[in-house]
């Protein structure tokens, strides 16, 4: 029969009640009739069912030249138990209760810790349990319910109001609002229409939609989030290296201290063998390094699971530790601070001609500004012409052969070789002061017009940056845009410092420059060209709307494309790391204070620890560390509900 720890605890506890009664009655000079025999029988049963597993584990470990907490529990209980048997037959006082109570308390600690550990790791299975069980897939003109694991990419799936979205996909029919809070942490429902993407396990509230599955199984966003959090929960924080080192030598060191305690009390201080033994046993029992070992993993587990619920995915423990040292946060501008959907606001010069040339040349470009120009041309019904010899000039713009003439579109860096009229220059300055990006359009070596494009900041950016500054962080904006435009946006949202005119491949270099000044830098970005900067920064924070590459290089991923996520990410990382430090501190303090008291160092002031009390203290220390980690679920985080 295999008993669980909690069953063992209850059996042992009930068996130890007679000894408890005797202990309480001792001050009244009452002796239980036949106490020694009762204690011998009950303790023997307790040892057989509850202490024996520790003994056998300790012996197996000992054979492998290793020692652990079981070694300490086994040594402590075995010494007290076998000495008591010896004492009983030689008519000396017995200490069965020490062996019994230590076992009971250790079991209680183990059982409670197990329960709390389960609680802490439950969050993740809850996340996975959010998934729908089946999906209504279109087959031969009819929607048929099929189990989730049979849904394939390309399937058309219908979701009715109140149902869960089964997998990731793109809406092909219908409009609805979705509750995406379980994935993004955002409690406001989001309106979705044809062409919008939907995420599996979010809840459809009022409309019926049909969507095409784009990601199924392990590729879905939820599956990837769960995978990421799993890895984070089992990861190491560098601060743990200390405990790893300690744990290797800890137990043998405690055994040595216990032997020294016995030797010193017995040989030098003239204590009786029994007194010396009780001190030594207390040392062994109190010194369990459990609390030390549990301090980091449990806090990591709770912290990363909680942050995942808020749409902040922390990759590992190392990131948490880095966050606590940050003093600077660098933002990419486009798509991070701003909406990332630039729009043409002004055109200077012959409107139709300028737009026609710009759109024709930019049609082949992938730049976000190009998209804005082409959209404008479409809206104005301007036909583009096919161009030849298209060429991108890195960081400057593009050029191509347009009707036999060289046309070019780009930033002011193009102006190095091309003349511009004073009037055009004034126009450009004016537009830039309004936080608009100016694109120069030229034909045959002459600037013929300007296109002003504006990308407005996200509504939440200003608040997020204010909150970061309140936390004493310096905010920096890094952008390829013109200085004036960048300044205008920076002052709108409250950014401290602007580094403008940065070529895409220079972003990482600027991060290094900040680091060279001794700053600890976090970089927030989303694009492919942000990947090097994300990995260079001490902490890379990838925005959720970003590409896969950006997400891979970030240490923290924000599911939601909102800068307030940065504040949350930093808050929860800091809180989790502080909790780890607090846990380690208490675990260490407990041992550094507990061992000397148990060894009888403070006998002079009347402070001693019996083996039973030592066992209780040890159980309490493990449970309190796990409990402290669980409290992370309750701490206040910016923007959390």
């Amino acid at each position: 029969m295999k008993l669980s720890n909690i069953q063992r605890f209850w059996i042992s506890f009930i068996l130890s009640i007679p000894m408890l009664i005797q202990m309480l009655a001792m001050p009244f000079h009452w002796m239980m009739p036949g106490y020694n025999w009762i204690a011998l029988v009950t303790t023997t049963i307790i040892m057989a069912i509850s202490a024996a597993p520790y003994w056998s584990s300790a012996i197996a470990a000992f054979k492998k030249h290793s020692a652990n907490m079981n070694t300490l529990v086994a040594a402590g209980t075995a010494v007290a138990y076998f000495y008591s048997i010896f004492a009983m037959f030689t008519n000396r006082p017995v200490y069965f209760e020490s062996a019994a109570f230590v076992t009971v308390f250790v079991l209680l600690g183990d059982a409670m810790e197990e329960k709390m550990h389960d609680n802490a790791s439950n969050a993740l299975s809850k996340l996975m349990g959010l998934q729908a069980k089946d999906a209504a897939v279109l087959k031969d003109g009819k929607f048929v319910k099929v189990p989730l694991d049979q849904v394939q990419v390309g399937d058309l799936i219908r979701v009715k109001p109140g149902e869960k979205i089964p997998v990731d996909g793109e809406i092909t029919e219908g409009t609805t609002t979705l509750d995406e809070s379980m994935v993004t942490g955002e409690s406001m429902p989001v309106v979705k229409q044809v062409g919008d993407t939907v995420v599996g396990s979010t809840i459809n509230s009022n409309g019926t939609i049909t969507f095409k599955a784009t990601k199924v199984g392990a590729d879905t966003m939820l599956a990837q989030i769960v995978d990421l959090v799993k890895k984070a929960q089992t990861s190491h924080a560098p601060i743990q290296n200390l405990t790893d080192k300690i744990s290797n030598i800890f137990v043998p060191a405690v055994l040595i201290i216990a032997i020294l305690t016995f030797m010193i009390w017995y040989s030098f201080l003239g204590a009786t063998a029994v007194q010396a033994m009780l001190f030594a046993v207390s040392v062994i029992v109190i010194a369990c390094p459990c609390a030390l070992g549990l301090a980091t993993p449990t806090a990591l587990m709770v912290g990363t699971a909680r942050s995942a619920k808020m749409g902040v995915l922390i990759k590992n423990g190392e990131v948490l530790q880095e966050v606590s040292d940050l003093n600077t946060v660098v933002f990419d501008k486009t798509g991070t601070i701003t909406v990332g959907k630039p729009e043409v606001t002004d055109i200077v010069g012959d409107q139709a001609e300028v737009l026609a040339i710009a759109a024709s040349v930019e049609e082949l470009s992938e730049h976000p500004l190009a998209t804005a120009i082409i959209k404008k041309a479409e809206a104005e019904d301007i036909k583009t012409k096919k161009v030849n010899d298209f060429e991108a000039i890195e960081g400057k713009g593009v050029k191509a052969d347009y009707n036999g003439q060289t046309a070019f579109v780009g930033s002011n860096r193009l102006l190095v070789d091309i003349d511009i009229s004073r009037e055009m220059m004034n126009h450009a300055n004016e537009l830039q002061n309004q936080a608009k990006t100016v694109v120069y359009v030229g034909l045959s070596g002459e600037i013929i017009g300007l296109i002003a494009i504006q990308d407005t900041p996200k509504p939440s950016s200003k608040q997020a940056i204010t909150e970061l500054k309140e936390r004493g962080l310096k905010t920096v904006m890094l952008t390829g845009d013109n200085e004036k435009v960048a300044q205008a946006i920076a002052s709108e949202v409250g950014i401290d410092q602007v580094i403008a005119g940065v070529l895409p491949n220079e972003k990482a270099h600027h991060i290094q420059k900040l680091q060279a000044n001794g700053d600890k830098v976090a970089f927030v970005g989303d694009g492919i060209n942000d990947a090097p900067a994300l990995s260079t920064a001490d902490v890379g924070i990838a925005m959720g709307s970003g590409t896969d590459i950006a997400i891979d290089s970030g240490g923290i991923v924000l599911v939601q494309n909102d800068l307030r996520g940065v504040v949350r990410a930093l808050d929860i990382s800091k809180k989790t790391f502080n909790r780890i430090k607090l846990n380690l501190f208490w675990a260490l303090i407990y041992n550094t204070i507990g061992i000397p008291i148990a060894a009888g160092l403070f006998v002079g002031v009347g402070l001693t620890l019996s083996p039973e009390l030592a066992g209780l203290a040890m159980a309490f220390s493990s449970v309190s560390v796990v409990g402290s980690s669980l409290l992370l679920n309750k701490t206040k985080i910016a923007g959390a509900n």
Binding site: S56, K64, S66, T234, V251, P252
Partner: protein
């Protein structure tokens, strides 16, 4: 100092010496190999007061699983954690717990108990 005190002192010092030698001295560790059946390899690790063997070598390119046979009933070894793989398994829920190991490339995967007291590794080569 009487005789028994002197004897205690000597025995204590010998015990300390033994502990230092036994736990901190260099000792050889057993290395386990996997067995290949039907193009799948598996290795067994017995969990009792530690991991035996604590090092397992797997062949690259053959689908592999490591079976943890739980024979220890204390809380200490109740979980096994593969940090790099994001695996954290409770070994007490069933007798033998299977962990799948990716063998597409040569690598060393460390594992440890839930409190990071016991260590072992799986080497793919």
């Amino acid at each position: 100092m009487n005789t028994s005190q002197i004897i205690t002192l000597i025995v204590g010092l010998i015990a300390i010496g033994f502990i230092v030698w036994w736990f901190f001295g260099k000792h050889k560790e057993a290395v386990g190999q996997s067995t290949v059946v039907n193009d799948e390899q598996s290795a067994r690790i017995v969990v009792k007061g530690g991991y035996s063997p604590s090092t397992v070598v797997l062949k690259k390119g053959v689908p592999a699983e490591v079976n943890f046979d739980m024979q220890d009933s204390t809380a200490c070894l109740s979980h096994v954690v593969f940090e790099q793989l994001g695996v954290n398994e409770d070994l007490t829920k069933q007798k033998v717990t299977t962990v799948k190991i990716p063998t597409d490339k040569a690598a060393t995967y460390n594992f440890a108990c839930g409190m990071d007291m016991f260590h072992g590794k799986v080497i793919v080569k």
